[in-house]
Symmetry: D2
Subunit: 356 residues, 4 copies
Amino acid sequence: MNKNNKILLGTDTVSGIHPKILSAIALASKEKTLPYGNDIFTIECKKNISKIFEKEDIEILPMMSGTASNSLALSSFLRSYGSVLCHIESHINKDEGGAPEFFSCGGKLLTISNSSGRINAEDLNKKIQEVNFKGKQYSQISGISITQLAENGTAYSQKEIKDISNICKKNNLYLHMDGARFSNALVCQSPLSPAQMTWKVGVDCLSLGATKNGAMAAEVIIFFNKDLAIEAKKLVKQTGHVIAKTRFISSQLNAWFQDGLWLILAEKANNTAKYLSDRLSEFKEFKLVYPTQANEVFFKISNKTYEDMIKLNIISNLWGMENENKLIVRFVTSFETEIFEIDELIKRIKSFCSKN
Amino acid sequence: MNKNNKILLGTDTVSGIHPKILSAIALASKEKTLPYGNDIFTIECKKNISKIFEKEDIEILPMMSGTASNSLALSSFLRSYGSVLCHIESHINKDEGGAPEFFSCGGKLLTISNSSGRINAEDLNKKIQEVNFKGKQYSQISGISITQLAENGTAYSQKEIKDISNICKKNNLYLHMDGARFSNALVCQSPLSPAQMTWKVGVDCLSLGATKNGAMAAEVIIFFNKDLAIEAKKLVKQTGHVIAKTRFISSQLNAWFQDGLWLILAEKANNTAKYLSDRLSEFKEFKLVYPTQANEVFFKISNKTYEDMIKLNIISNLWGMENENKLIVRFVTSFETEIFEIDELIKRIKSFCSKN
Amino acid sequence: MNKNNKILLGTDTVSGIHPKILSAIALASKEKTLPYGNDIFTIECKKNISKIFEKEDIEILPMMSGTASNSLALSSFLRSYGSVLCHIESHINKDEGGAPEFFSCGGKLLTISNSSGRINAEDLNKKIQEVNFKGKQYSQISGISITQLAENGTAYSQKEIKDISNICKKNNLYLHMDGARFSNALVCQSPLSPAQMTWKVGVDCLSLGATKNGAMAAEVIIFFNKDLAIEAKKLVKQTGHVIAKTRFISSQLNAWFQDGLWLILAEKANNTAKYLSDRLSEFKEFKLVYPTQANEVFFKISNKTYEDMIKLNIISNLWGMENENKLIVRFVTSFETEIFEIDELIKRIKSFCSKN
Amino acid sequence: MNKNNKILLGTDTVSGIHPKILSAIALASKEKTLPYGNDIFTIECKKNISKIFEKEDIEILPMMSGTASNSLALSSFLRSYGSVLCHIESHINKDEGGAPEFFSCGGKLLTISNSSGRINAEDLNKKIQEVNFKGKQYSQISGISITQLAENGTAYSQKEIKDISNICKKNNLYLHMDGARFSNALVCQSPLSPAQMTWKVGVDCLSLGATKNGAMAAEVIIFFNKDLAIEAKKLVKQTGHVIAKTRFISSQLNAWFQDGLWLILAEKANNTAKYLSDRLSEFKEFKLVYPTQANEVFFKISNKTYEDMIKLNIISNLWGMENENKLIVRFVTSFETEIFEIDELIKRIKSFCSKN
């Protein structure tokens, strides 16, 4: 690797398409099929998901955008006069330009703030009590949304999800999971199965993302609770998210699931992140902020360190700013990130940082 | 007053119509006029408001609902992809069933939480920095909304409003004031003028309410910044808030402003509230929560005290619940509340409470 | 009547408030009651409507705006991805600034065009077949809306409504009736009962208007099909159409129904319209366009005649323009229109028109 | 070609990806680039479009869905209280599940009905006059949308577009072109240039589609009027139509434009359609409905003929139904349709149809 090359580690969406997925697209192109989801690739996709998630009775919606995948899933139970509970740092609240509110024509996200980055039973109960107290004048709660992997790179344990879904059951709420980095969260909790991390602990629908982990543009909403699919299927056309040649999403997903490719890629990214996390922690200028469980690594650094990295073409993501001299940066590895890139990164860091 | 009579003090909307306002409605009924705001009463109303607020260059929209008055005013600058900063306890956030979000097709309320019940410059700057940091993925901020009287019964000082509007100017934001109890806030800061409390310190539009203070159903959006009226005037019909016989709103407002009736009624309510606040504070079971500045009084009481009040037909508003034995109740006086009612209330309280 | 006085006959909303309704408002003001519909006047109102419409099992929503009354009623079954069939000339399509589309976040009005001014079974079947043919890509039909009195002043017969509701049943559609001038349509088909003209022939919900016929601002949505009320009750707050002192709408309606006042006033308006229709038809410059069944009268006149009327302070409503010299004007009488006004009008017309 | 093979000619979206476009995707995958449109492929795409359309001063939005491309383009000037004029048969009115209405939160499509399948100056002027006549109560017109190729397979001439844009200028309206089959319309009017068919005759924005003509999923909104892009760029994220790896749309478009590939493919499809049209017209069972100008061919046939075709695995699109025995079917050729397929089709038709 040339020492002047940019090392892009700000997000996993800088990655390309895995060769097996590209081949699948090419193969799907050879056949003429009916458009709008009435093709054999989409039928096969549903079967694959049924098998992997160990559930016959599901509905799926293949999508091309993560924002749409989350917003449509939420709209399956969120109406304009309702609200959804989520963490204040969640992607749906901070990074989708108000899409959940738009898809639901004015539905409200009620946010929960805490330092763990994951919502928990106690916070939820308090918020629910507060809303119920106000009664009808408040936007009534319809469901809860959690992000797996959470925004701070940590994973909800099965027990944590179970506790949240118990609150859902008690309060008649739906449970949505934003799974943009679901595969990364899954492999770091091995041998937990996809089913054990979702519907077996009460998740009603999952926005599963393949784009950050090998696909070109492939997301799929999986409705474990099929009732929810009815509304979503009516809205998906009206929001412009039915693409004509649906087979090209489904075939990406099929290749992604084939022979556990999705898990292999996620594991590689996680391992590289762990390597990056360990090596960078050796420098006293880098203070690890959250435990590195999957493919996201957060460090607290000084402004000067941040600028030095940029000078040396190391591109991280400026995540937060505690004060003018305390920044939080995020590194995200993908299936394409190689150990030699991290070694090169460490080599460059060494030129201006000192070991603990 | 009969000792079995209910004393309704939970809200000022239990009150009726002031006789002078009722007479004005009757008088307006005698003339045939064009509908939909093309009548002399509405023209006169605008003139009255111009005079009272010392500004020629305004636009007004007479309305019948406070929720609509706030939501339409906000929609004059809030689009679906935008957001408005407000206090977490504000009426627009907690008590309008998601109307601001609906009117703006998905606009977002970004809330600020603090114990004073009023947003301040420091909190605002922090939130604005946070949103700007995230950039385009976040719902960009379009404006700020403050409530005068604030939800906790305290009034923003002229200085506080000025500080907020300076932030607005600096960040290119609009400033809206929810004035459901504007008159109560105004008279408690005498000799501050309506102009001094609004456009002279940077308020762009005011949702002024007469309903809680003498009218049957009369609210008016006053656009000090006339540009904002363009959008609102287009939306008002589509949201169903143009009533056919507009003159019956305008004539209510005209009578309300006539000879300072609005201020006289507000002052009476404020004085009665002060009397209630002082008398109730004498009992050790009643701990005043916020300073009583206008017509709202908040006390912390035990669950037992609350139940005793209900038994004696004293109806307050259950405002909050610190824990199972620490309640916060709200008393609101109106132009119709008389001192003898408060005396009767105190008499009943005495039967189960003891003086400090 | 002074010969220079304006004769305002363009619409019935130029009228004021009937004295009995004004008295009812004054009376309701004397009592303190809970706001937001939790008052005895609203409970009584529901009972009155139950009795008059001979149906126990209903829900009602008192409103202040006709546009909102129609749009909320439609939103009880119209979702963003759905559509409603209506006449192209209907008020909901042409005169509410897009409110039905807004309330439903993008629901579609599919219009039927014909010269009768009323939709009929044949037109409906053709349109339904066309939409079903296109299938899922088209906005699926949720219901049908008819206007009684129709926009052209004619009334749907019971048979016509029955035929339409049969189509609804066959196609699983809801039937809404815009009854802004329901009372005028009812009395002209005497002895048809309110029940016979609505739910007994399949109407699911009725937007009943009192404003044009004696009230200040009073409309009520009557849900004969109670299931529909669930959605509407959730939306009514969010659209800003819950006014604080609901009793002042309910008390208007109560007085309006009392001793058949609503029918007496409608009959008077209808009779005056018939008199106007007969007298004006005597002039060869005035060609009656539609049969005068209730309180609306339509004439085809020349541009010159129209201008002559204006010069003599006769204000009608310019309804349509066949070409530059063929105008259609509408006269609408109200409960306040007196025979002597019509006589004065005829006197003025005589000054420039000649008898047949 | 095997005689049992299905011949899929109902739509051009049954086609796959052109090899050159697939290669471009593969090539773009080799580089790490920033997501969300901040990549060199998207910059290049804009340059390509500028060159081809001979206009520097444009904005573009690469999209993956034709429905979204149309709806976002319309939303750049259509607000909830506005309306857009279009043909009743247009895709935006009949085939997008209400997406334009949803994107604009309730904007209205005002439809024009005629037998030519294309709107014209006379129809437009009549409709505009009608809406203006009604005034503010009607949803005011913001723009006009035309489809090139029109839904019935015919192309607007440059003169026809010019006439429409003159009406736009006169009435202060925007002009949108749905160009899902723009390339097919362009080559059939050779040597008309892209610029001559769009902005040079007053088109403000074009929804240009590549998906039906060689791409996997690639559409692009071209704003010749850059002001319109401001609003659209704010809405695109909120509607979920910013995909993470934008480069994979841009690179498709780049390959599509490269060396005139888009025109070569369109011309091939058009020629094949002409061949199909000519050959099928020889049978007396097939009556051509519209002139075959591009790649769509419409025939009127009997129910029996339609069923016979299905039996022989000829799949056309059932377009309309005049009566139970008069059907209209559509054949659409794509860049992948080969003459030998048409020959095979004709062979099968011969088995049950007779020549003129």
